[in-house]
C-alpha cells in the first residue's frame, strides 16, 4: 500500500505514524510537506498526524486545514482514498470540513495523557476491519482539545449511520456521547483523538493499534 503522511510545521507524530505504516505495509510512506499541492501519484492512503500544527494558533488545526496540501487531501478523500486523522489530524479534518463537528478544550481543562479503554462500535469500516464490534481495546491519548462536540441532529445521524467508530469507556475529555472517533459519510475518512500508531509493537506496551493498520491494509489490498 502506497501511503503518504502529511507534515505541517508543528506536527510531532508524523514520524511515529510513518514508522507504524512502514512496519505494517513494508513500505516507507511519502512524507508530504504542507506546501505541496499534490500527493504522490498512486497514493492509496493518507495520514494526517498528531502534533501542534502552527502552535494551535487561532484554533487547533485551523491553520493547517487551510494549507495548500489540504486541497489535494480533500480531492483524494472525494475519490474514496482512505484518510485517517489522528489527534491534531482529527482537529485538522474537522476544521477542513471533511468530518462534521468540532474538537473543543477538554471539559476539565486538563491535558490528558494516558491509556484509555475504547469500544469498537463499528467493525465494518475500512479502518476497523481488524477488530470485532463491541471489542474493548486500549490506545493512548495525549491532548488538550479532544472534547468532541456537534449539534444533536449531527450526533443522531452519526449514531444512526454507524459512523461512530470508537467510543471512550472511560470518559477523559467531555466528548459528546463519549465519542472518540468518527467516520465521514463515505466511510473512507476516520478521525480519532487516541493514537493507534503509538501501540504497534510489544515494546510500546500494547499492539491494539497495529490491527487498525493491518485491517486497513487487507481491505485496501482486497
Amino acid at each position: 500500500m502506497k501511503s503518504a503522511v502529511i507534515v505541517f510545521p508543528g506536527s510531532n507524530c508524523d514520524r511515529d505514524l510513518a514508522v507504524a505504516l512502514e512496519l505494517v505495509t513494508g513500505r516507507k510512506p511519502a512524507m508530504v510537506w504542507h506546501r505541496e499541492t499534490e500527493l504522490p501519484d498512486g497514493t492509496e492512503f493518507v495520514g494526517v498526524p498528531g502534533g501542534f500544527s502552527y502552535g494551535d494558533y487561532l484554533r487547533s488545526g485551523a491553520m493547517a486545514a487551510r494549507s495548500p496540501v489540504m486541497h489535494a487531501v480533500a480531492d483524494a478523500a472525494g475519490r474514496g482514498v482512505p484518510v485517517i486523522g489522528i489527534c491534531n489530524g482529527f482537529q485538522v479534518l474537522t476544521e477542513a470540513g471533511l468530518l462534521p463537528g468540532a474538537l473543543m478544550r477538554n471539559a476539565a481543562l486538563k491535558f490528558v495523557c494516558r491509556d484509555v479503554p475504547l469500544r469498537v462500535e463499528n467493525s465494518q469500516s475500512l479502518f476497523t476491519a481488524g477488530y470485532n464490534a463491541g471489542e474493548t481495546i486500549s490506545f493512548p491519548v495525549a491532548h488538550h482539545d479532544g472534547n468532541y462536540q456537534a449539534d444533536e441532529a449531527t450526533l443522531d445521524r452519526l449514531e444512526g449511520e454507524g459512523r461512530v467508530a470508537f467510543r471512550y469507556l472511560d470518559q477523559c475529555n467531555g466528548s459528546a456521547r463519549d465519542i472518540a472517533g468518527i467516520l465521514n459519510d463515505g466511510g473512507n475518512v476516520l478521525g480519532l483523538m487516541p493514537h493507534p500508531e503509538r501501540v504497534v509493537e510489544p515494546a510500546h506496551g500494547g499492539t491494539d493499534g497495529r490491527r487498525l493498520f493491518e485491517g486497513l491494509l487487507e481491505t485496501v489490498a482486497a
Partner: protein, 81 residues
C-alpha cells in the same frame, strides 16, 4: 480602515475557559458574577473601502469556526482608527 472581529462561542456550547475564569474571580472574592464566557477579538488593518461581504467571508473561511462560534464585525473608519 480597521475592523474588529469578535468571535464568541454559540449559546449552549460549553466554555471550559469561561468557567475557569469564573471560578478564579470567585476565588478572588468577587461576588455576583453569574456566568463568564470567553471569546476572541481580532483586529484587521484593511485597505480603505473593503466590503463587508469580504470581511464576512474571512470570518466564515478562517477567523471563526461556525460549527461552534458566532462572529460580529465592527468597522472603524480611518478617522476613528
Amino acid at each position: 480602515m480597521k475592523a474588529r472581529v469578535f468571535v464568541t462561542l454559540k449559546n449552549g456550547v460549553l466554555d471550559p475557559q469561561g468557567k475557569a475564569i469564573h471560578h478564579a474571580l470567585e476565588g478572588l472574592g468577587f461576588r455576583g458574577v453569574n456566568d463568564v464566557r470567553a471569546g476572541k477579538l481580532i483586529e484587521l488593518d484593511l485597505v480603505d473601502g473593503m466590503g463587508e461581504a469580504v470581511i464576512e467571508d474571512m470570518c466564515r473561511k478562517l477567523l471563526a469556526n461556525t460549527v461552534i462560534e458566532n462572529f460580529r464585525i465592527e468597522r472603524l473608519e480611518s478617522a476613528q482608527a
